[in-house]
């Protein structure tokens, strides 16, 4: 994996539990029962979605469970631009959208930040201004856009089309539509009357095909008028509908009872119809634009076209060529608090100040769940020289077929000592079968007592092995390797499997990406006793008198990434 070896992932099993439809629930329960028996397979396609580094997980104290990004609910506290760090009130987010409305933009080609520059030669910061990418050198000049002011670029850009054309506002669009409708009306009237002189005066304004936004605005207006014309035909005023009034009721029933009767059939022209012109959003397919695009690709080639990613990043993704792109206003970021999905308990809440990275509440899993890690134990050959290789052990070249020893290290963040049981399948799932033996799968880990206790007692740790001076380390089944104040390590023997399939069939057995990575699923169960009712939040609770102990148990799957097996 892209994480450096060795690493540990923790599985959150919430995907089984958060199903909503009852139809699924029954079958899910059965499946869960089966799953108890089943080994977690880090290579199953679903594993990618349930495995997290410990640092990414939260912990709900009420549910006493790990919470991953899937089993929490997020609530936005505030919005800000990550580039200019300006906080945006929610009303503005609602009206102006999810992007910075000041001058923050990213490059439409490479997504780096764009910078505002003055083109003025005198060195003064005077107009015209442009946006330029510091990384790929793209500038707004390439789409024919210059700005008059160095500030408020977003507002200026909203009115500037590529090539410096004016982009109409919605109001201007409405006005223009009305004007053209008038013209059209006049035209068709002229068409039917002898004087045909006044036509064609406006045709040159029709030349530019309407943009996506023009058409959308035309369609919006068209449907609005459709709904409107349909509405007034009913006998109610729009503001005092009261369906419980008997008269209103009978009027409705009257309307319905006309079903099948021909009484009103032709009395009114149908208001409901299709759009009839581009003013109403209708566009007849025109092969000319197709032909132009083909011709352009032929003439100018790859360089003037946009990649799929560049297109999709655009506000209007229906673009093809580099002269159609627009600078991308920076997406706003949010500060969010997170709650437990099942009990709604707040798990994290950041300070509301934009520049602060601190949290008011932060319940991290790493304060509640033991941390498991693995590293190579440099056991063989036990020469003084080789001992230095402990630091330079090549996790990217595990030798297939040769037993190697590793240490599983488990540290306890809790204030109570815990009893740990580890379980692992004897051979790893997947294409490459490696053999794994945890030499001491059951052990205790000390409490996370005051750090000073540790400082005082560290020199007298009960066992101290594996250091250079003691020569060959002894690995004994059933015995822990080492222990400290709140940690314990045990040895694991691993025989990495062979990456080349050994004569099993003639089929193509080439390994896929990461199939040579040695990952071990380890099931961790911890048991401990703690003061009943006394949560870490220190809420004085009357339940459970002081000194009364409560047994707790937690269990979860982890996946330990040991390294990459060398091809034979």
């Amino acid at each position: 994996m892209a994480q450096p070896f060795p690493y540990t992932y923790y599985a959150c099993d919430c995907y089984d539990g958060n199903n909503t439809s009852s139809t699924k629930r029954a079958s899910q329960l059965l499946q869960e029962a089966e799953e108890e028996e089943r080994t977690f397979d880090p290579r199953s396609p679903r594993a990618n979605y349930s495995l997290y580094p410990l640092e990414h997980l939260l912990y709900c104290e009420d549910c006493q469970q790990v919470r991953c990004p899937r089993c929490i609910i997020e609530e936005t506290l505030n919005w800000y631009c990550p580039s200019c760090l300006f906080e945006v009130p929610s009303s503005v987010v609602k009206s102006d959208g999810n992007r910075c409305t000041r001058s923050c933009f990213s490059c439409p080609l490479c997504t780096s930040n764009l910078q505002t520059y003055s083109l003025d030669q005198t060195g003064e910061s005077a107009p015209p201004f442009i946006l330029e990418c510091q990384y790929c050198r793209w500038s707004s000049l390439e789409i024919g856009i210059e700005f008059e002011k160095g500030q408020g670029i977003a507002a200026q850009l909203a009115r500037l089309g590529n090539g410096g054309k004016h982009i109409p506002t919605n109001k201007e669009r409405d006005k223009e539509r009305e004007r053209r409708r008038e013209v059209e009306m006049r035209k068709s009237r002229d068409l039917l009357s002898p004087s045909t002189e006044s036509t064609n005066t406006d045709t040159e304004r029709d030349d530019r095909p309407p943009s996506h936004d023009d058409l959308f605005s035309n369609l919006t207006a068209f449907y609005k008028s459709q709904v409107d014309t349909q509405t007034p035909s009913n006998p109610f005023s729009s503001h005092d509908i009261n369906f419980s009034s008997p008269s209103a009721y009978s009027r409705i029933m009257n309307l319905y009872s006309t079903t099948g009767s021909k009484k009103n059939k032709r009395s009114k022209p149908s208001a409901m119809r299709e759009a009839a012109s581009s003013l109403e959003g209708l566009t007849i397919h025109d092969p000319i634009s197709d032909a132009a695009a083909i011709e352009r690709i032929k003439r100018e080639g790859w360089g003037v076209t946009l990649s799929p990613a560049q297109k999709h990043a655009q506000i209007n993704p229906n673009v093809r060529f580099t002269d159609e792109i627009r600078p991308l206003a920076t997406l706003l970021c949010t500060k969010r608090s997170k709650r437990c999905r099942s009990c709604r308990q707040i798990l994290t809440k950041p300070e509301s100040k934009i520049t602060s990275t601190r949290y008011k509440i932060k319940l991290l899993a790493l304060n509640h769940i033991p941390r498991l890690s693995i590293r190579a134990l440099n056991a063989s050959p036990p020469t003084p020289v080789a001992s230095r290789t402990a630091e330079t052990f090549d996790y990217n070249a595990l030798k297939p077929g040769i037993p190697a020893h590793f240490l599983l290290h488990l540290s306890n963040p809790l204030f109570d000592s815990i009893k740990v049981t580890l379980a692992t399948p004897s051979t790893t799932p997947g294409k490459v079968h490696s053999r794994v033996t945890i030499l001491c799968p059951q052990f205790d880990v000390g409490a996370n007592t005051d750090i000073w206790d540790d400082a005082l007692s560290s020199s007298l740790s009960p066992i101290k092995r594996g250091s250079v001076s003691e020569g060959p380390a002894q690995i004994e089944a059933g015995k822990i390797w080492d222990r400290g104040r709140n940690w314990t390590s045990v040895a694991v023997e691993i025989v990495p499997g062979f990456t080349n399939s050994q004569g099993s069939g003639s089929e193509e057995q080439e390994l896929e990406e990461d199939e040579d990575v040695l990952e071990i699923p380890i099931f961790v169960r911890i048991e401990y006793e703690t003061d009943a009712g006394a949560d870490d939040r220190g809420l004085g609770d009357s339940r459970g008198s002081k000194g009364e102990k409560e047994r707790r148990e937690e269990a979860f799957w982890t996946v330990v990434g040991v390294g990459r097996i060398k091809g034979a």
Binding site: M1, A2, Q3, Y9, N19, T23, K24, P45, R46, N48, Y49, Y52, H56, P69, R70, S188, L191, L192, P194, T196, T199, D206, F216, K224, V227, D228, T231, S233, F236, S238, I252, L255, Y256, T259, N264, K265, P269, M272, R273, E274, A276, E280, L282, T283, I284, H285, P287, A291, A293, I294, I297, K298, G301, W302, S307, P308, H312, N316, L331, T334
Partner: protein, 566 residues
Amino acid sequence: MSSSGERKVSASLGRSVRGTTPRLADLASTPEAPRTPTLGRSVSSLFGSPGGSFRTEDEYVVIELGSRYVRGGFPGESTPRCTLSYDPDNQRRVGDYRQWDPEYGQKRRKPKRGQDWGQEFELYRMDLSQVDLGVVEDKFERIMREVYNTYFVLDTKPRRILLALPPKMPHALMSTLLDVLFGGFLAPSITLMSSPVLSTVAAGLRSALVVDIGWAETLVTAVCEYREVHEQRTVRAGKLLSEEMAKVLNAALDEHAGYQEFDDISFKEAEEVLSRVGWCKSKPRSNRRTLYFPARTSPILEEFEDAVETPEPTVTIPLSKVSPPSEIAIPFATLAKPADNALFATETALNEFDDHELPLHHLIYRALLSLPMDVRRLCMSRIIITGGVAALPGLKSRILAELEALVHTKGWDPVRNYGTASARHDHILRQQKEAVELRRQEGDDKISESLDPDNPLPAGLRGHEEDTIDAKLAHVALRNGPPPASVVGGIVRGVETLGAWAGASLVAQQRIRGIVEIDRERYLQHGLQGASKEKEVSVVPQRQSMGPGVARGAGERASWTLGVWA
């Protein structure tokens, strides 16, 4: 939302809610059928009157789901806030950032064992035997979280969802998707609308033949008055096209000197080449074997084998996934071959195709053929070509030309002339010329005849008079009828759409309720099984069922159905 709160609302406002919110079916009312009264309350909100805050909980987000993309945004906006694709790079474990590693970016990724071309880039397949619904749920949940957290950035108020879906999605798959939206994103209700209907809305039309050239299949849906009346499918779509493009590129790589390893082109490379420089010959090749063209004057006949240009134009394609990065030059004409092969299968005789692999133009022709005459008349003049592949330059023109040629040879009802999609200027000129003719004919009563869908005019009567009649209609329209362009029929004509997402945005903005509206509480209790079994398909039963609904005064719908998804 507490259920008690909701009940209160329904007691006082519910009935009017029921009556005020127009549904798409209401828009579908025909002049003959009585219209449901749709009152101005929700409409008035569009003008910013006090009525606007009538149903504040009625805020929507608009989501369109395809097998490879999800689009999400807000009602009334012309484009979605985001268009996200299912990419294996986004499907890794949290904390795995390898795609940002420049070295990794230069490697070509091989598809996983046993997976089809591009399968890792799909959310789902309609064939559930090839799908692990658990993985679908995982993928969908993750991408929706990105949509909500990165692009929607909503406040805490839950939003209703208008969901654009392909019609006929298997229920198990729908449940999986709805579970995520109800469970993970707390939607109070989800309104389902079918993509072809929404594409029709976004074209300004009420009836259309929607040709959705998607990823796994092309779906031809005849929509009449906002209802699906017929559909046909073929596997000739994006996936085949992309595979054909990969073949072309692999062949070019093989010839390319300096390649020891014949590393096959990756999915992403083929996709990028296709979307950047892929194209389609916009006119059918005169193919003597299939004899498209009868001996009559038609612009299609003028098209012979493409003239050979010298030197042959080529396109240089950079390859970044090889080291050192290099480029290959491919003849421009070759880049049009994948479309020929994958979508039109020009080299194969018609009788060799299975039903599910018909070339596009034959599929469309068959779809039209199976429609009742009056619906066909409407649909053939409202061909909407949409879907991911539709942007391929030349493709729309080609499909329309091929179809026109087919209709010419096979016919059901001869068409008038080619070139109805000609430039506006032509049209205006013609209009003027014919104004004279028009005046002469005024008073004639042919209009009503041509409007009557049950008695389409014999071809001979129509012929070149098209514009005359249209102009005449314009005249009538000015007084009281619909404008001429909205009643065009009987000719092959392509109409552009802004796409299903834009259609959904329009529908949500006008607060038109869909037929399939799923309430959160009900769904959580009963799942999709809660839907009543009746299909609301035809306009009339729908209308009748609304009467008692109002009479009972039920604010919420007493029952809901799955419409086309039932």
